[in-house]
């Protein structure tokens, strides 16, 4: 039970899994040389968060509380950048991390930020600096399958986060690839498996598109929205040979979320649903998680 309390907030689950992936990369895939890059992402994000929480946070919550509440999502964005975005320049890393965190505070509609922080940081760094890139081939495919099964299994058994978003995206994307490669083109099965067992796709499906603050609140709208992203990303990947298409499409699709929210009314997402807890727990959670921002 105590352990489950930790996982009531899906963000801790995300942090633990992302750190496992990063450790795997550092230990087994020789990403050691890039330690400076990870350090830059984390340091910049934390500093920007500190500054933003101080100047831009909601004033009715004490500063220290605001800072503390924001830390988990800062770690998640930093892990997201570390796992996906490559660059040789420290200033590009600083730029990406700063854009990620700043976007949460500056680009907001109806009290929700619009863009997934790390996705926006990645896209901005790639297209605005021209000195950053995504390496879809940085993972061994064997490990990726193991990670996928592990993440999925964990989510299902602990119900830590909703699976509708991940499954709608992954199902549509992988399904379309399967239809094209195996059914239409006639490649053997291992050709298809090689396509979908990239670490970037897995991270995107389980840890990026799932960010509940930047997806439509209404269930049906959310699922359709994810499937549409998957379909466009598939088109760009299969026919335009674009790398990292899902992330780019996600960033382009996120401004639609406020519009969808307007047409499909639903309760706004809160990180922890109060009704699931006893009054004491509710009290506890309100103290800990009452946050202004994500």
């Amino acid at each position: 039970m105590p352990l489950l309390t930790l996982f009531k907030d899906a963000r801790y689950f995300q942090i633990i899994f992302q750190s496992i992936f990063l450790s795997y990369g550092i230990l087994f895939l020789h990403w050691r040389n890039e330690s400076w890059l990870y350090a830059t992402y984390f340091t910049t994000s934390l500093v920007v968060q500190f500054v933003c929480a101080y100047f831009l946070g909601k004033k009715n919550i004490p500063f220290l509380q605001r800072l503390k509440n924001g830390i988990p999502s800062v770690l998640i964005s930093s892990f997201g950048l570390s796992l996906l975005l490559k660059t040789n320049y420290w200033w590009v890393a600083v730029f990406a991390a700063a854009v990620s965190i700043l976007s949460k505070y500056i680009i907001r509609i109806n009290g929700k930020h619009i863009f997934n922080p790390s996705a926006l940081g990645i896209v901005a760094a790639i297209f605005l600096t021209g000195n950053a890139w995504i390496s879809p081939g940085q993972w061994g495919s064997g490990a990726v399958i193991m990670f996928g099964v592990l993440s999925l299994g964990f989510i299902v058994t602990t119900k830590v986060q909703k699976l509708d978003v991940s499954l709608a995206f992954l199902g549509t994307f992988a399904g379309l690839i399967f239809l094209r490669q195996v059914i239409y083109l006639g490649w053997p099965m291992d050709h298809f498996i090689q396509s979908v067992s990239t670490g970037s796709l897995l991270l995107f499906s389980f840890f990026m598109i799932t960010d509940p603050k930047t997806i439509p609140d209404h269930t049906a709208a959310r699922v359709v929205w994810c499937m549409a992203i998957a379909a466009v990303a598939f088109y760009l990947t299969a026919f335009k040979f674009m790398n990292g298409a899902p992330i780019i499409v996600l960033v382009l699709a996120q401004p639609l979320v406020p519009i969808l929210d307007k047409f499909f009314k639903a309760r706004k997402f809160e990180w922890s649903k109060p009704k699931a807890y006893t009054p004491e727990e509710k009290n506890f959670l309100q103290v800990v998680y009452s946050r202004s921002i994500m």
Binding site: P2, L3, T5, L6, I16, S19, S23, L27, L29, H30, K86, N88, G130, N131, A132, W133, S135, P136, G137, Q138, W139, G140, S141, G142, Q181, Y184, L185, G186, W187, P188, D190, H191, I193, Q194, S195, T198, K240, F241, N243
Partner: protein, 491 residues
């Protein structure tokens, strides 16, 4: 002179790695190109690709034939033959290298070191990329037909694979039995087939035994190399060296993992005698360790003709502007590539004359490489080279204090070199007994000879309890997790 000596002495005293002031190239990994090695030059900028395929076909040229899937119907101007020596030059220049350093006797005065430039170029045995096939059906359409150099070239499009297979077989192109599994997806992906045979008449005019490499260029967003067709008629593992030139930076594989081949390691002096075999062992060992489905980076450098520093040290002459142009780097030189009728280049020609050279080494087989090789150009401009270091010990008397210290350091260093050798190549230390004994080590102090040190290293390695870094880090992570839970008041 005196001053320099002192500085050198200081270095030796503080550092276990012995320094000296010059390094010379001695040898390149000639033996590293296995019998089944294909070589391809890839040039890419925007949507334009130039692919040059090495041809080492040996035998009756009547039997030669080649089928390459290409994304578009090529025009005659898009097909050229180039001088095959370009491959030798690129390989010599970018191959893994051995560098040689000399220690100085800390008790002596110094004369400059002699250099040993025993470049022994030896022939590489390579193999052309595509499936070897020797050259009608209604579903097959001949899109174009050209005579280029000594080659008769057809560009085919097909509606279904059995038709294509029959057409090829009827025209004497012996297609391997299981090629159909690959032909079908290629046809449906709308690829065309670039089919090559030797024109005997033209061949005779050339008066040469060699078939020259064919270079094709086209515009397509697809940046890939079709390897699956070649796998259909090859058994076992095939090596492929890709020499890539771009304007922006390194290329990397997008559907297989990229890894740098281990580099900058100090290895024993006796490896010099057989560096090719050493690198062959090293590559096989690393390939196994990294899980086989890997693109190994062996070299990456900015080779822009005006850029003076192109390697450290160079094992061959850097490619000249002419070499680069011949490799297909169209943005150099006055080549007229204005006829871009079918271009939708998303990156406009920015006038930059930069050229980045990437050398990738694949060893593929059907199981580890289910897909063709897909690439991307990255803005990564970091230099990289596969480089291994040997160091000649100082000779003479070591009766001064610094000399004694030197001998002690030398023993330590050589022990490390022996351990490195076995770790890199994945071989047992006993396998190196003969080389260690046979090495011309007589001038070295007897306590520091490899033959003396090898049994000691063997003992040490057997007794050493190895605590992997992984376990330590895992322990740290668990502690961190526990700390987090404690902080949250869970435990």
């Amino acid at each position: 002179m005196k001053k320099r000596l002192l500085i050198i002495g200081a270095f030796i005293a503080i550092s276990p790695v012995l320094f000296s002031f010059c390094g010379f190239y001695v040898s390149k990994a000639d033996g590293t190109l296995k019998n089944k090695t294909s070589q391809v030059i890839l040039v890419r900028d925007g949507n334009r690709s130039v692919i040059t395929m090495y041809n080492d076909f040996k035998g009756d040229t009547k039997d030669f034939a080649m089928v390459v899937p290409v994304p578009v119907v090529l025009r005659k101007d898009d097909i050229k033959v180039v001088d095959q020596s370009i491959f030798q030059r690129l390989n010599d220049y970018s191959a893994p290298r051995l560098v040689e350093y000399w220690d100085q006797n800390p008790c002596n005065n110094y004369e400059m070191m002699k250099e040993d430039m025993s470049m022994a170029p030896s022939a590489n045995v390579d193999k052309a990329l595509a499936g070897k096939v020797a050259g009608a059906r209604s579903s097959v359409k001949i899109e174009a037909q050209y005579l280029v150099g000594e080659y008769d070239i057809l560009i085919l499009s097909a509606k279904e694979s059995s038709g294509l297979k029959n057409w090829l077989n009827e025209h004497g192109y012996k297609i391997p039995a299981d090629a159909e599994e690959v032909l079908d997806p290629y046809i449906k992906s709308n690829l065309k087939f670039f089919v090559v045979k030797v024109n005997e008449k033209e061949k005779k005019k050339l008066n040469s035994n060699f078939l020259r490499p064919i270079q094709i260029s086209f515009n397509s967003p697809k940046f890939m190399l079709p390897i699956r067709l070649g796998m259909a008629n090859a058994d076992g593992d095939q090596d492929l060296i890709v020499y890539a030139f771009t304007r922006r930076g390194r290329i990397e594989s997008t559907n297989y993992r990229n890894a740098d081949i281990v580099s900058n390691r100090n290895i024993p002096l006796f490896v010099q005698k057989n560096f090719g075999a050493f690198y062959g062992n090293l590559f096989t060992n690393q390939w196994d360790k990294e899980g086989k489905s890997v693109a190994f980076l062996e070299y990456a450098w900015n080779v822009t003709p005006v850029n003076p520093m192109k390697c450290d040290p160079c094992v061959g002459n850097p490619p000249t502007e002419q070499d680069l142009v011949q490799s297909g780097v169209w943005w150099l030189g006055g080549k007229d590539w204005n006829d871009y009728s079918d271009v939708d280049n998303d990156e406009p020609d920015n006038g930059s004359k930069n050229v980045h050279f990437t050398r990738l080494h694949f060893r593929y087989n059907r199981k580890s490489f289910p897909q063709d090789l897909m690439f991307q150009v990255t803005p990564n401009t970091l230099n990289y080279q596969a480089r291994y270091i040997i160091t000649h010990p100082a000779t003479g008397d070591f009766n001064c204090a610094a000399g004694k210290k030197y001998l002690q350091d030398l023993r330590q260093r050589r022990k490390k070199e022996l351990q490195e050798l076995t770790a890199l190549t994945g071989t047992n230390i006993n396998n190196w007994q003969d080389e260690a004994t046979a090495t011309n080590d007589e001038e070295t102090n007897v306590t520091a000879q490899y033959a003396t040190l090898l049994p000691q290293v063997k003992d040490e390695m057997e007794n050493k309890a190895n605590v992997p870094v992984g376990i330590l880090l895992f322990g740290a992570a668990m502690l961190g997790g526990a700390g987090l839970m404690r902080w949250k008041g869970i435990i």
